[in-house]
């Protein structure tokens, strides 16, 4: 069991089909070319004696080549975040030596000097792959071998390296993707960073289905729309902040329709999708199927999906209960089990908030140097808070650690945020706990006004009071121009908490 097998099957079934195209340069690989290049680079990696392949660069043809060549060579693939500071990158690099580093020209001399790092430029990694004529040994079929080491974004503390073995990734693909399910006209636009689990999953699922991937290295809404039109893109994945910008950009064009008739499916995930954004997007893309995917690095990507039919039914529904399903992340994939548990590890009744636990073949739950954090029955505690309704639809409610403890009462920021977001003047909101002498923690909110709207903070507090118990009314409300997000759309709640705590004292 090895992820190279996915590419082997694809290149046997449709060797001449385009596999990857770099959207910024137009360079591309067919499936056969990618397979041949992987064999040659696997040989180089083995000869180097390196024990990891590190890729530090934006998305380009070197990205899928690095993933498959390292699988063939039998060394873990380690994509690093190129937005980190030089100091942070050096610290992570030192944790994965001896390493074969594929990176941009501008970083070669500095990082090539690091002990036990053999650095090559992405350009020569790709060029050499076309000219040498190696005959690499076959890849290992041991399902326990490590395929990918992925540093989690670490919004708190030092980044952890999540361990994904070949068995996890292959199980995920076999369980969720139909082999050769795509037609020659299917084109996927991939704009998530290569060091994000969604970026890795996109490579594998596109290859196994036989889709042509167009890569967008640096996201902007304008570039996304332009590439999607140019390549007649049929499927894409975005994080909520990206979709919000695409919607804004289309609205600025004055478009009533996105003008992307080929876009059959658009999926999103990686953070909470505001109801207003998804409703507008569905109006702008009337013929597009929307899916919401929820997954984690530790679960080899998607574990829960809200499908297109469910989107349409919820959008057309009149009852609040059914409309709410539009902000659900849907139901577990086949082979994936999900439970909501309280602090004592007991399963909670439908509709009640608790921590999300997940189990399945694709679930790793393992970190380098710490082993597996799954329990004896294979359940992985996600640290995400959520609830599941009586029909098995999962709702996310922030991180388990984000719970606000006010006077001994546990409050969910998500519950309060959902109410504030329904206020007509509010575009975005983050609710956090700030230190309080009286209560231990007090509820505080940072809100962003919609364009042209003004927020009256006292009126907003009354608005919450009319809808929730008084303990949930924010004692502090600040109007901000925007909330802090990282580049994959994750709200930096810690930053909000620090700033609001400082404002309060």
């Amino acid at each position: 069991m090895n992820v190279m097998m996915l590419l082997e099957m694809a290149s046997a079934a449709f060797p001449e089909r385009p596999a990857f195209t770099d959207g910024s340069t137009g360079a591309s690989f067919t499936y056969q070319q990618l397979f041949d290049a992987a064999r040659q680079r696997a040989d180089s990696i083995r000869n180097s004696g390196a024990e990891r392949l590190v890729k530090l660069d934006v998305s380009n043809l070197g990205t899928p080549l690095s993933l498959f060549a390292s699988a063939w060579a039998g060394v873990p693939y380690v994509p690093l975040n190129y937005r980190l500071t030089d100091g942070e990158i050096q610290a992570l690099l030192a944790r994965v030596t001896p390493a074969y580093l594929v990176t941009e020209d501008s970083r070669l001399s500095a990082l090539g000097a690091v002990t036990d790092v053999q650095a090559v430029s992405t350009g020569s990694f790709l060029d050499d792959a076309q000219h040498t004529n190696a005959t690499a040994e076959p890849w290992a079929m041991d399902p326990e071998e490590i395929a990918v080491l992925l540093f989690t974004s670490g919004t708190t503390g030092e980044p952890k390296a999540a361990v994904l073995r070949h068995k996890h990734l292959v199980s995920y693909i076999l369980g969720s993707v139909e082999f050769a399910g795509a037609t020659e006209e299917d084109v996927a636009l991939v704009c998530v960073p290569p060091y994000h689990i969604a970026g890795i999953a996109a490579i594998m699922s596109s290859v196994y289905s036989g889709r042509h991937v167009v890569q967008l290295p640096n996201f902007s809404a304008e570039a996304w729309i332009e590439l999607a039109r140019k390549h007649k893109v049929s499927t894409a994945f975005v994080v909520p902040t990206m979709l919000a910008r695409i919607v804004e950009s289309l609205e600025a064009e004055g478009a009533e329709d996105a003008g992307l008739p080929h876009l059959a499916s658009l999926s999103y995930g990686g953070g909470k999708m505001p109801l207003s954004v998804i409703e507008k997007a569905m109006a702008l893309f009337p013929n597009t199927d929307f899916s919401n995917a929820y997954g984690l690095t530790e679960t080899s990507s998607t574990i829960c999906v809200l499908g297109p039919e469910e989107h349409r039914n919820a959008a057309a529904a009149t009852s609040e209960q059914e409309r709410r399903r539009l902000v659900s992340v849907g139901q577990p994939l086949p082979g994936v089990e999900i439970e909501i548990r309280d602090e004592d590890g007991q399963q909670v009744p439908a509709g009640e908030r608790g921590e999300i636990y997940v189990r399945g073949e694709q679930v790793s739950g393992e970190y380098e140097g710490r082993g597996s954090v799954t329990d004896s029955e294979g359940w992985f505690p996600t640290r995400d808070a959520g609830s599941m309704d009586a029909d098995g639809y999962l709702f996310l409610e922030g991180r388990a650690d984000d719970v606000i403890v006010r006077g001994g009462e546990n409050l969910s920021p998500g519950e309060i945020e959902d109410v504030i977001l329904t206020h007509p003047a509010v575009a975005d909101v983050a609710v956090v706990g700030v230190p309080s002498e009286q209560w231990g923690e007090a509820v505080a909110a940072a809100v962003v006004a919609k364009a042209g709207a003004t927020i009256d903070t006292a009126e907003l507090q009354d608005y919450v009071k009319e809808r929730l118990r008084s303990s949930r009314v924010p004692e502090l409300v600040q109007v901000w121009s925007e909330l802090p997000y990282n580049e994959t759309g994750k709200l930096l709640r810690r930053v909000v908490r620090t700033d609001l705590a400082a404002a309060q004292s």
């Binding site: 097998m5 070949h166 139909e178 995930g269």
Partner: protein, 103 residues
């Protein structure tokens, strides 16, 4: 008879068919393709002999096959003319639920 291991690759000796074991049962069993015992994919054996007429529906790349009890599951990685069987019982093609594209 041999114990199968998850991830192991086997090939047919009478056609081009090749499989990978996805779920392996605890018990030992004999895997056949086209009615003839399969061998480790790494062995230097070129297909020879005849596909047995009762085992000639074929295997298709990308399809998964299971036994009646669902304790054995294999993935076909190369198509062939022979059908798969475990201890003489033909395997069944597994239906896969079509899921929305998510990544």
């Amino acid at each position: 008879m041999a114990a199968l291991k998850m991830g192991a690759r086997l090939k047919s000796t009478v056609c081009e068919g090749e499989i990978m074991v996805v779920i392996a049962p605890d018990a030992e069993l004999e895997m056949t393709c086209g009615g003839a015992a399969m061998v480790d994919a790494g062995e230097a054996v070129t297909p020879s002999g005849e596909v047995h007429p009762d085992h000639a529906v074929g295997v298709a790349m990308g399809k998964r096959y299971i036994d009646e009890a669902e304790t054995l599951e294999v993935l076909c990685v190369k198509s062939g003319d022979g059908s798969l069987a475990a201890n003489g019982a033909l395997l069944l093609q597994k239906d896969t639920k079509k899921l929305p594209k998510t990544d």
